[in-house]
């Protein structure tokens, strides 16, 4: 059984639909990448899974249970954590304070919090060095690392990452993708939104979205095919 299963999902802003009934699933232990051009509906998809938007119709099941309408708080407590588009770190709190807030839903489990903190510092040693610095004064790349690390602090089963590579140098983007792969290897299922096809080699499953519909779903080696990139992404 898939960890996340999305069926006929229709989502829109006001009455205007943006996602026209999409279907896909993510298996436990996978790194799945959702690709698409600007405005394809990627952010809308992960925001809906994270409970920030209400679907107009369709269903989402997580670990066999249907995700009913619920707040983002309920989702993160239930094991789904979103690292949002645009980083959204808390600018006037320190790196460490940002991370502590990331573990808000587990704030009573001090052992887990400590373990997650060690883990994310291990993923991003740069954050450990800058523990006391105000998040707003970090570089863009460091803020992106902090955003991913903060999302990991709740020890999610499913981590959603919305365009972590945006605005990063190719080298730094690869670093972030490498960490994403490590996060997956350490047991967290990842659904990663990307516009950059450079993320494909890191993925176990790829979804390609165009104008609110999924036009391609693939698993394994076939997604590393060059023709695929040309056909859908023009690279």
């Amino acid at each position: 059984m898939a960890l996340l299963e999305v069926k006929d999902l229709v989502v829109g802003y006001d009455a205007f639909p943006v996602l026209h009934g999409i279907n896909f699933s993510v298996e436990e232990g996978e790194l799945c990448v959702l690709l698409g051009l600007n405005g394809a509906g990627k952010t809308t998809t992960v925001s809906t899974i994270a409970g920030m938007l209400k679907p107009q119709s369709g269903s989402m099941t997580f670990d066999g249970k249907e995700l009913k309408k619920g707040s983002p708080s309920a989702r993160v407590a239930g094991g789904i954590s979103l690292c949002p588009e645009g980083r959204r770190v808390f600018p006037r709190l320190s790196v460490r304070q940002n991370l502590r807030l990331g573990s808000w839903v587990r704030r009573k489990e001090s052992k887990t919090v400590r373990r997650q903190l060690e883990l994310v510092y291990d993923y991003f040693p740069r954050l450990a060095e800058r523990e006391g610095q105000l998040a707003g004064t970090l570089s863009g790349g460091e803020q992106q690392m902090l955003a991913v690390a903060r999302a990991m602090m709740s020890k999610p089963r499913l981590l959603l990452i919305d365009e972590a590579s945006l605005g990063l140098s190719p080298t730094l983007a690869r670093t972030v993708w490498e960490v994403t792969k490590r996060i997956k290897a350490d047991g967290t299922t990842v659904l990663m939104v990307e516009q950059n096809a450079g993320a494909l080699p890191y993925a176990d499953r790829a979804l390609i979205m165009e104008k609110g519909t999924l036009v391609y779903t693939g698993v394994g080696d076939e997604i590393r095919d060059v023709n695929l990139r040309e056909a859908y992404l023009g690279v």
């Binding site: 708080s73 006037r92 709190l93 807030l101 808000w104 839903v105 105000l134 709740s154």
Partner: protein, 296 residues
């Protein structure tokens, strides 16, 4: 010299009331971005609550004071529920007018319900009066207020470093991310207004017993602390908690200096001096007192 020492002492004592009010103003501003005109009325309402319980219902004294604080907190929560939350997407000016409306409403209710007698008195925690070496008498009650201010400010400083306190700051900085980590921005807002109202309530039940009180006591009555509290909050750059405490004390002192003999012939010397002081401080340190520039 003696005159100066007396002014300084009285200034600090009166200033501690302003500091309590300023702490509430800064707290709400930091989290909701609202200039809260009802902050002083949280105090007067708490004072009336304590008065009703202690004097009219003859409850045990401390239970009555506690009741007053609870009344203040309830008023803070109701303000959030009925005014701030429904108007949250409006401009800050609308919210400001909303809080002024809250203040005017409760003052109206106080006049309407407590007009006869107009003047009332709440017993003090202690009736002791001490005479300082300079001959100026100070009330034990004033010292209690100062002590409560110190404890409240310290507690607030500790609280702001706790997870709930961090959540409070985060909710204002990035509400979306706050929801995403599982913090309910709504609950944070309620908590903020509750704590601010408690600070106002403390100012009310303590300073309200200094002398007599009437409706609107802390807003424009004998114990007026709203305007001084606002000045103190502005001195604190509307963000620094230690700044709010220092600002309140400084405003109290400057006000007392206006009463010195050398200003004896100037009408309204206190208010004038305060204004000049405010302008000078803002010119020299626009970011406020005890505010690190880097965090601005």
């Amino acid at each position: 010299m003696e005159e100066l020492a007396i002014a300084l002492t009285f200034g600090v004592l009166q200033g501690s009331v302003y500091s309590l009010v300023a702490l509430g103003i800064v707290l709400v501003y930091r989290v909701s971005g609202v200039f809260n005109f009802a902050q002083a009325e949280f105090g007067t309402t708490g004072l009336f609550g304590a008065y009703i319980a202690v004097v009219l219902w003859e409850w045990p004294f401390y239970l009555g004071l506690l009741f007053g604080l609870v009344v203040a907190i309830v008023m803070g929560l109701l303000t959030e529920r009925l005014v701030i939350h429904p108007l949250r997407n409006q401009s800050k000016v609308t919210l400001l007018v909303g809080t002024a409306g809250v203040a005017l409403t409760v003052i109206g209710i106080q006049f309407w319900q407590f007009n006869d007698p107009l003047i009332r008195q709440l017993p003090k925690i202690s009736d002791a009066v001490y005479v300082t070496p300079f001959g100026a008498p100070i009330m034990a009650q004033q010292l209690i207020t100062l002590a409560v201010l110190i404890v409240a400010a310290a507690a607030l400083a500790v609280f702001l470093k706790s997870p709930a306190g961090l959540a409070m700051q985060a909710a204002q900085q990035e509400p979306v991310a706050c929801e995403l980590v599982g913090v309910s921005v709504r609950r944070v807002s309620m908590m903020t207004w509750g704590i601010a109202a408690l600070l106002g309530g403390l100012a009310g039940v303590l300073s309200g017993a200094y002398t007599i009180f009437t409706a609107g006591f802390l807003t424009f009555g004998v114990g007026k602390a709203l305007l001084p509290g606002f000045i103190a909050a502005v001195l604190a750059g509307m963000k620094s908690m230690p700044g709010a405490v220092a600002g309140g004390l400084v405003v109290g002192i400057v006000e007392q200096f206006g009463g010195l003999k050398m200003f004896g012939d100037v009408p309204g010397a206190s208010a004038l001096l305060l204004l000049v002081f405010l302008v000078v401080v803002l010119l020299l340190r626009p970011q406020g007192l005890l505010v690190r520039k880097a965090t601005a």
